[in-house]
Symmetry: C2
Subunit: 255 residues, 2 copies
DNA sequence: CGCCGCTTTGAAGGCCTTCAATTGATGTGG
DNA sequence: CCACATCAATTGAAGGCCTTCAAAGCGGCG
């Protein structure tokens, strides 16, 4: 087989076979409905590192479900300062920033080799109107996105750099766990600078905090590999000044 | 007429007569569709100052469209520290935090006397499936919410206190303008502390910045009344270190 | 091997927070 | 109608945390 990129991009999608199905849009659908959803998806889209999924200002052609890999969503089309808004992991829905006026308000870039299911917007909407449980799942995933952003908001609200980094790590761990990866050890697909931008602090501060956590035995970091050694201790750091602090989150923080 | 509260609460809603209709869900609907949407809304809900619309943890019974007044959405059910996530103005859709698992992840409280249209969730969803342009408006308003939160995220990302307050004022002005109120002069329905919490800075800092803006002739503040005297100058402050900074926003910042 | 970028580490300085006290606005009771 | 209580907002001063600037490690890649 000449399994080149173009071929990979055209692999047929079958929700029933997808490991992420229970997390994704097809959750709760019967076989026939799942097939109809699968028919909607022209191909599994493949992105290489640093490749853009869409760019601010482009029309909203499709929504995307992340299958593998990760993305970074940011505002400020690179004309100067960017602002990282969030990171998307497998099972996340991407492109919702285009819903307001069917034009993307942010850009989204792959942090590593990433595969996505592309849902042509108009046809997807029509199908949601036909299949109630699909509409429900769409709204569920939209809600997840909104709560993730609430988490990010929570993160950036008057918290110390120490707490921000701790919350970030814990949230990432939780999200990796949800999509079937290890909650203890994982690789960061984003740079220190990207983490810093997301957390609203300086890159050097991220380095220092990670170093401090390591010295305290909370984590072990080596390059982009992170092992969480003491989740409870890290959680205490995340909660910081006040014990009732982490309650307010929508499930968890977006990262 | 004994126009008491209970009566007011039972006033029949007619989207066609609503001044906000073009901003709201009924935008783009024909008369018959508008009537069906109106039939869905059992009553215009009235909230007094500090009255809760819903509380974190409660099931999602309905989504709400703000008719008049304003609300504050926050996480952390009052058990200690709260985190203000955003403010809702007329034309905004409220309650989307409950979409993830049909249970509210935040609380929402009226900042002043506020009226809302209550959309029973299940029936509203069903109607969206039947009326394509209603589904479209719902997604449009959801997109607006998401972009508003992106704006808030942008706001809190590594910006000086000065820029945050300036962006906050400008965004509020813009949003008042959109819903037909004055863009130059308005009353803040939220306290300094609530602004501060939203902006991720200390209350005293908000006071100081407002004072500084006033001394510079950018605004005139008197209690909660604000007049924007020099929008251009204020915009320059908002953009601050870097001219290409405000580009990244989704339309405008949430406030 | 040597360049280049990312990360780490160090030191100085600034901005904002925190604590504290004053002022002002609001509302209640005498 | 005024005095007082109460709470929000303002203003001031000190201190801390993080940013910024700078330089040295470290890895990756040609």
């Amino acid at each position: 087989m000449t399994a080149r990129m173009m071929d990979i991009q055209r692999i047929k999608v079958a929700c029933g076979d997808c490991r992420l199905s229970p997390l994704c849009l097809s959750s709760g659908l019967n076989e026939e409905e799942m097939a109809r959803l699968g028919d909607l998806i022209p191909r599994a889209r493949l992105l290489q590192t640093e490749e853009l999924l869409y760019r601010q200002g482009e029309p909203l052609d499709a929504l995307y479900a992340v299958r593998s890999g990760s993305l970074r969503t940011f505002a400020g089309q690179g004309n100067g300062q960017e602002q990282t808004l969030g990171f998307s992991l497998p099972g996340d829905l991407v492109g919702l920033d285009g819903l307001e006026d069917e034009r993307h308000q942010c850009s989204s870039v792959a942090l590593e080799t990433t595969t996505l299911c592309e849902l042509p917007y108009a046809r997807f909407r029509a199908l949601c109107a036909e299949i109630p449980s699909l509409q429900g799942q769409m709204l569920h995933l939209i809600g997840k996105e909104i709560c993730a952003e609430h988490g990010t908001l929570f993160l950036r609200g008057n918290r110390s750099a120490e707490a921000r980094v701790a919350i970030f790590l814990l949230d990432l761990a939780r999200r990796f766990g949800v999509c079937g990866l290890s909650r203890q050890e994982f690789n960061l697909s984003m740079s220190r600078h990207e983490i810093a931008d997301y957390l609203g602090i300086a890159g050097e501060t991220v380095s220092r905090q990670l170093g401090a956590f390591q010295r305290r035995g909370l984590i072990a970091v080596q390059q982009r590999n992170v092992r969480i050694l003491d989740p409870v201790g890290l959680d205490a750091v995340a909660a910081q000044d006040g014990e009732a602090q982490r309650e307010g989150l929508c499930n968890g923080t977006a990262a």
